[in-house]
Amino acid sequence: MRGADPTAALPYGDGVRPLSDAPTVPTSRTEADRPVRDAAVPAALAVTNLRVTRGDALVLDDVSFTLPRERFLAVIGPNGAGKSTLVQALLGLVRPDGGEVRVFDRAPRSEPRRIGYVPQLKTFDRSFPATALELVVSGARGRWPARITATERDAACAALERVGATRLRDRPLARLSGGELQRAFLARALVREPDLVILDEPATGVDFLAEHDLNHLLEGYQRDARATVLMVTHDLAAARHHASDVLVLNRTRIGFGPPERALTRACLEQAYGHVGHDHDLVLP
């Protein structure tokens, strides 16, 4: 039965380790405010009582968490849980209706060069005439390139090599597969050597192999650059295996903490509704 139930309420990959069935759901405020290891170094992300509305809809309500630097945070939750809105708030693309967002102890958009952002690709317009190289250079420059300098070319090629996409360099975006486009966008995010990498559902539409690579690539970059990673994902296995922290979101904060404490049955049931019967995800 392992992973065979098409009606599974939870999307998850292969190789999921059983989740512990912790007796309490870590939803209390104190859980979010775990002390930063070094008090002198401000946290990478500090979100306090964040509230965001769109029209009449309350998309995020009373979301608080603090993420120290050099952590790998997976944000999970059902569709419409407000995950992308949280990302937009961190990037300064939506204005909070309440609460506060701090990125490296500053207001969002204060230091855009320190953030490498990989957007959701399902809304991306592929009709834009550009090569993968130009896409990566746009990340380094913060403008769209007309002419590319030798230095920019070298940096962009190094970033493409890092994500295993050297051969895509001169390929038009319209001719990249989902996984290839994903890599090009990741190279675009990494080329500026960011202190914080934010990925919005990178696994969407990408085959498992590419996704597998992606998680390792991110871990490698995080280690080398001592960077912080925030990844919105539907993949509970990735959250469990690669993240140091997990935020379970469904409009409000359902759980936050290390995977073994955030990915509990109680937490997931609260976020997704009924978890299911025999998915090996949770212990009896």
């Binding site: 937009q88 990037l91 300064g92 693309l93 958009r109 855009p112 060069r113 953030i115 952002y117 957007p119 991306f124 317009d125 009709s127 834009f128 005439p129 550009a130 090569t131 130009e134 746009s138 420059r141 913060g142 403008r143 769209w144 390139p145 007309a146 002419r147 038009p172």
Partner: protein, 279 residues
């Protein structure tokens, strides 16, 4: 060779060639952003808004009796069309309505106002030639018109070249550009405002009905052949300028309306590009 150079001795044709090339350069560069942002209908909408503006300008000119700045319909048409463009941008920005819908609303209102204003001018007043208004009169460009065209085109081309990297980035993906600190909303409104000015000045020459073609066809044809946005920009300008110059000569030689000759030439380039484009 002499037969080819012979028309060049006429001042009216020289002005048409220079003015047409300047308009083609300006609208070609602008058209890249219009096409790539899916705003092809904007050229039509703004041209028709300028019809309302020119009609109002004609009414005002009739009212002031041919004296002062207001005797030129352009100076009323310019703020009128600019206001319409910013209103379209505002509706896009503040509501869920699509660009086409927002443009469609203002398009209809401006044309209705234009018809109303024209009806208020006695037919024998001889202030405005509706046929020229609709279909343009590039061969009737006077020295004063040419100065306005050159100043406007020079300013807009300079502005677009300076803002190109930012505009292109915001056109590629508004969220990525905004996350990198670009003033995406200002660029949006700025693009609409610049388009309005370009359309008012050009529509007097190429005609309201054919104006949209200048904004769309060269950029669309270049898009089919180009692999990068900068190549598309260069291509759009090259196609626009070449078809304008060749079309003007051809229309003179064959004695056909110049606006129609230029647009049909642009359309043939587009057709060739579409047929030869690799998918």
């Amino acid at each position: 060779m002499d037969a080819l150079l012979e028309p060049l001795q006429y001042a009216f044709l020289q002005r048409a060639l220079v003015g047409g090339a300047a308009i083609a350069m300006m609208t070609g560069l602008l058209g890249v952003f219009v096409v790539q942002r899916g705003l092809a209908f904007l050229g039509d909408g703004l041209a028709h808004a300028s019809f309302g503006g020119i009609a109002l300008g004609a009414l005002v000119a009739y009212g002031v009796g041919g004296a002062g700045l207001l005797a030129q319909p352009l100076w009323v048409a310019l703020p009128f069309t600019l206001a319409a463009a910013l209103a379209i941008a505002w509706v896009r920005d503040r509501t869920d309505l699509s660009s086409d819908t927002a443009i469609g609303v203002f398009f209809a209102v401006a044309v209705a106002l234009g018809v109303l204003f024209l009806s208020m001018i006695p037919p024998d007043a001889n202030v405005v030639d509706v046929y020229h208004l609709l279909f343009g009169s590039i061969l009737a460009v006077g020295p004063a018109d040419l100065r306005i065209i050159l100043v406007t085109a020079g300013a807009i081309v300079t502005l677009l070249v300076l803002a190109w990297g930012r505009l292109a980035y915001a056109t590629f993906d508004a969220d990525l550009a905004a996350a990198d600190g670009l003033p995406v909303r200002l660029l949006d409104y700025g693009l609409f405002a610049v388009a309005a000015i370009a359309v008012v000045v050009s529509a007097q020459v190429v005609g309201i009905v054919l104006m949209a073609a200048y904004l769309v066809i060269p950029a669309a044809a270049a898009r089919l052949a180009a692999r990068s946005l900068v190549a598309m920009s260069v291509g759009a300008v090259a196609i626009g300028v070449t078809t304008t110059l060749v079309g003007l000569f051809a229309s003179y030689a064959a004695d056909v309306p110049s606006g129609a000759a230029i647009i049909l030439l642009q359309a043939s380039v587009f057709l060739v590009a579409a047929l030869t484009a690799r998918r």
